[in-house]
Amino acid sequence: MKPLLKVENLHTEFRTDEGTVKAVDGISFQVRAGETVCIVGESGCGKSVTAMSMMGLVEEPAGKVTGGAIAFGDDDLLRLGKHELRTIRGHEMAMIFQEPMSSLNPVLKIGEQIMEPLMLHLKLKKKEAAARAVELIRQVGISRPEQIAGSYPHELSGGMLQRIMIAIAVSCSPKLLIADEPTTALDVTIQAQILDMLRTFKESSGMSLLLITHDLGVVAEMADYVIVMYSGKIVEEGEVTALFANPKHPYTQGLLKSKPVMGQRTEELYSIPGQVPDPLDLTPSCYFHDRCEHCMDVCVSREPLLQPLGNGQKAACWLYEEAAIHV
């Protein structure tokens, strides 16, 4: 079956005074209908830029998608005209942002903001849209929906606002929902509720979910397929159970090791030593080499490619390439 979304060799660059930053450097992945794919990685690894590139939010002249293709259904999102892109965005493809507090227009009522895509994409009349908006607010689990529809964003809590964002995003039954760290700004109990809600919507409507997060707990709970990014590249990907049970790339291993385990108290939580490399002076190498405990000569001078390792798992690491050659 043809995947719903197929990203191929995507490159996104930002021009700065010091030089060009390759924020996303040749990544490829796909999302099948009804599947949840998680992109994990630490801050600055290019997760959000990937989402922004897909939504056409990378604004020139500061940044530019310099290469690759994003196939969504039969369209290539990177080659669509503004008008065609507009009919897809918000309709077949929706996005939720990290900060619910700043993602809603402060001077428009909640109801009006939910009605906006309904009237635009589904061509609903104002009255129908208003009724549908109230219904959507009820669906995301907020009581007194009529009253909420008439209030302003500053009158609601962050968790409620993120529910509203979800209501707006799912209002036109999109085929793909991109959620860029949807729970990062919320406290833990609300996080669970929001994730639950996303899962419910996904199951009832059959939409696909591309979840961007740095929280491995979220990944474990939500994902079917996991993509681990580091410095703009995919370093490892695989089915969630396989990847969690048997992480191959030293970076993924480090990430999983640095996760606190409930009920266990250790003296000090493991952390991967070192810092993310400066994106301005990257040379062909494994970008993780200076933080890796298995670093070899080849890691410093040549870039490892993403290799299938059986089990549906892939990793970009010389450890396995060497092994593959020897066997």
């Binding site: 939010l57 965005r89 942002f97 227009n105 008439g150």
Partner: protein, 307 residues
């Protein structure tokens, strides 16, 4: 138990308050500013006086009465009469109608122009922005008063009928006032368009015009209200200056400005102060009241922008 009831009562009261509109909240805050309320009261009083007052006056503004020339204030003529025997009180009220209307209309026009052009410039940027802002710069490089004088002199030169002059004066005042307005709006737009909620609107697939008019403009309404209020005062002043120099609205149509023209005559200035003090006081009171009210409004609506 009792504490709880008190608490729930308090919270329902608060939630009822919170539910009221932003406008309601702002109005409540404004009511606490005594000076602004006083300013508003003066403006309302002047407006009512000018628009309703003449209806109760036994005189009409242009009725000439040679028997009653330059009479000092009396019970019959509260503010005296002028050189043609016309009742000053009635003329001041009639003049106020014109001055206030000119101020209001030119404000509306310049706010409309300024907001629209500024918003377009800040939102679309690029070449559109360049063209609009260079025109604005051009108008702003010349001081307003000389520019208005030139316009006024041109009107006189072309012998524009007096009836039309009032409307042309409104246009002139808007023409010199919109650039400042447009700049402010443009600046706001440039910062607002980068905010996260506009990205969210972009992701919804909204059309640029919808985003501009329905999502961005409402965000600058407070700024517009404040600028508009302060602008009326300025427009009234400019109109008075023009009319004082005989380049604005022409007699016999009275405006506060052309009535003060009487002060140009040394004899009238010294011997007949009732000719120029009433219109002068009217301008002074109205403009200062509008400015005080505008300042109060700014404190409420736009707390970030304090002088």
């Amino acid at each position: 138990m009792r504490v709880e009831t008190v608490l729930t009562k308090a919270s329902t009261k608060r939630s009822r308050e919170r539910r009221s509109s932003l406008l309601g909240q702002s109005l409540r805050k404004l009511m606490h500013n005594k000076l602004a309320v006083a300013g508003f009261a003066v403006v309302v009083f002047m407006t009512l006086l000018c628009f309703i007052g003449p209806l109760f006056s036994p005189y009409t503004d242009n009725k000439i009465n040679m028997a009653m020339m330059n009479k000092a204030p009396s019970l019959k003529h509260w503010l005296g009469t002028d050189a043609l025997g016309r009742d000053i009180m009635t003329r001041v009220m009639q003049a106020g109608r014109i001055s206030l209307t000119v101020g209001l209309a030119s404000m509306l026009l310049s706010v409309f122009l300024g907001a629209l052009l500024g918003a377009i410039s800040g939102y679309y940027r690029g070449i559109t922005d360049q063209i609009i802002m260079r025109i604005a710069d051009l108008l702003m490089t010349v001081p307003n008063l000389p520019l208005l004088f030139i316009f006024g002199a041109m009107l006189s030169e072309w012998k524009v009928p007096t009836d039309y002059r009032m409307y042309l004066v409104m246009l002139m005042l808007s023409a010199v006032n919109w650039p400042g307005m447009a700049r402010m709006v443009r600046g706001q737009m440039l910062s607002l368009r980068e905010r996260e909620f506009m990205q969210a609107a972009e992701v919804l697939g909204l059309r640029p015009r919808r985003k501009l008019l329905h999502h961005l403009l409402p965000n600058i309404v407070p700024l517009l209200i404040v600028m508009a209020t302060l602008n009326i005062g300025g427009a009234i002043l400019s109109e008075s200056v023009l009319s004082f120099f005989g380049l604005g609205v022409m007699p016999p149509t009275p405006t506060w400005g052309n009535m003060i023209d009487a002060a140009n005559n040394m004899i009238d200035f010294q011997n007949h102060p009732w000719l120029w003090i009433p219109p002068g006081v009217s301008i002074f009171a109205t403009v200062i009241a509008i400015n005080i009210f505008g300042d109060g409004l700014r404190d409420v609506l736009d707390p970030k922008q304090k002088r």
